[in-house]
């Protein structure tokens, strides 16, 4: 069997566009799910009591339903329910964010709960409001402790964007499929895509670990 990697050179622009969409989708949905996760976790911990049940139900449901199912439902079924049409990219962004925000919320909650309750009591005794306690005492320590978990969430986000290929988002997986299909050289193309994904993911996991080791002392108390 012979390999001919010229197919990569011939289609490099097409594949590079896929890399760009993968990075864009990962960055936007990663950021959106962190922000949403923070809000959800704070509502769960400090919000009104009746909100707790629906939030826990939402989080556990997202842990039970595959991303593929969430993405396919968002792209094909949501427009029927909501009466709107949306691009694959928008659908993927919504689906991924709804799915990953649940995981982010769990990370934030675990981080906040890891700060000893004595600190909250001490801060309240000093006359701080609840909001001040969260902002000045809990979050600064919790955020540092959450870093490793956020790092793995980011790498999960990048990996999950590949599933958006199923709803025709032109990210790296989808572009590779197209090139593989047109050139009849799936082995070369998919092996090259593996290399690209590894090059995107490995520095993220390693970089976060290294950064965490440098700042870990800020989270200790």
């Amino acid at each position: 069997m012979e390999f001919d990697f010229a197919v990569i050179g011939d289609n490099w622009r097409f594949l590079a566009y896929g890399v760009w969409i993968t990075i864009l989708l990962s960055a936007v949905s990663g950021f959106a799910s962190l922000a949403a996760g923070l809000v959800i976790a704070l509502l769960r911990l400090y919000g009104p009591g009746w909100l707790r049940v629906p939030i826990v139900l939402y989080i556990d449901s997202m842990r039970a339903i595959p991303v593929l199912v969430v993405l396919v439902w968002t792209f094909f079924a949501l427009p029927i329910v909501a009466g709107v049409t949306m691009s694959p990219f928008t659908a993927a962004l919504i689906g991924l964010t709804v799915h990953l925000a649940a995981y982010a919320a769990e990370i934030v909650r675990a981080g906040i709960e890891s700060v000893r309750p004595g600190q909250t009591r001490a801060a309240l005794a000093l006359g701080m409001s609840r909001a001040q306690v969260v902002r000045r005492i809990l979050l600064p320590q919790a955020i540092v402790r959450m870093l490793p978990a956020f790092g793995s969430l980011l790498s999960i986000t990048i990996k999950d964007t590949a599933i958006a290929s199923v709803i025709a988002v032109p990210e790296l997986m989808r572009q590779s499929e197209t090139v593989a299909g047109q050139s009849f050289q799936p082995i070369e193309v998919f092996s090259f895509a593996m290399l690209l994904y590894f090059l995107m993911l490995f520095p993220v996991t390693r970089g976060v670990d290294r950064f965490y080791r440098r700042v870990a002392h800020l989270g200790r108390s």
Binding site: M1, D60, S61, R63, A64, I65, P66, V67, L68, V69, V70, V72, W73, F76, A77, I80, V81, S155, I158, K159, D160, T161, A162, I163, S165, V166, M173, S176, E177, A180, P186, I187, F190, S191, A193, M194, Y197, F198, L201, F202, T205
Partner: protein
């Protein structure tokens, strides 16, 4: 918009068969990935250096690749590498096993590493061999830390089996989307698929929480 939910009931046999395949894939993958994960973890920890490097490379590679890409890759590459015409089910099983073995190896390695060195040294000072120390001292303690992680890997795997639908393995996701394509009942079938996954996955996720609470190790 008129909805016709009877389409779900009409295709109950296909959906049930899909559900069975989903469970079969999950069970078979774990049955392969647990022993293989142990082997890879032990190779990574105790083997000759070059072998160690290969095992580490394998784990790092597969933990840093999207599973769906591994599925496509296996679909096109395995028949050429092995010279066999593998069924979609066997290909999907191979791809899932490659992926989960890497995760399990990392779980086992972390579990073994979490037991302090001094315990092995003490066991060996008492005259146990390395293998005896591993079997009698490390493994029983490490299991408490490993089982909850394996359980959450199980739940992830259960969900990830949906990805082999892209190579036409007739599991729950594939069957649902096939029925959708045949009947054009998009909303009904996709919602039924989500609800079925929810019904099956939710108790499993809750069971994992319970296990993690029960087996919590406090030092």
């Amino acid at each position: 918009m008129t909805l016709d939910w009877s389409v779900v009931w009409q295709h109950r046999d296909a959906l049930l068969a899909g559900t069975a395949t989903t469970f079969l894939l999950t069970i078979a993958t774990m049955a392969i990935a647990i022993p293989c994960g142990i082997v890879v973890a032990v190779l990574r920890l105790y083997a000759w250096h070059p072998v160690r490097a290969v095992a580490t490379g394998y784990v790092e590679l597969f933990r840093n690749l999207p599973l769906i890409l591994v599925v496509y890759w296996a679909f096109y590459v395995l028949p050429i590498l092995t010279g066999l015409g593998l069924s979609p089910l066997a290909t999907g099983l191979a791809a899932l096993s490659l992926n989960v073995t890497a995760y399990n190896a990392e779980t086992f390695r972390a579990g073994i590493n979490s037991i302090r060195r001094g315990q092995v040294e003490a066991a060996m000072a008492l005259g146990m061999t390395r293998a005896q120390a591993l079997r009698r001292v490390i493994v029983p303690q490490a299991l408490r830390r490993i089982l909850p992680v394996l359980a959450s890997t199980w739940v992830s795997l259960f969900k990830d089996t949906s990805l082999v639908s892209v190579i036409a393995v007739t599991e729950l996701a594939y069957v649902s989307m096939q029925v959708r394509a045949q009947t054009f009942r998009v909303l009904e079938m996709l919602t039924a698929m989500a609800v079925l996954y929810w019904l099956l996955g939710y108790p499993q996720a809750k069971l994992v929480d319970w296990m993690q609470r029960r087996m919590k190790v406090t030092e």
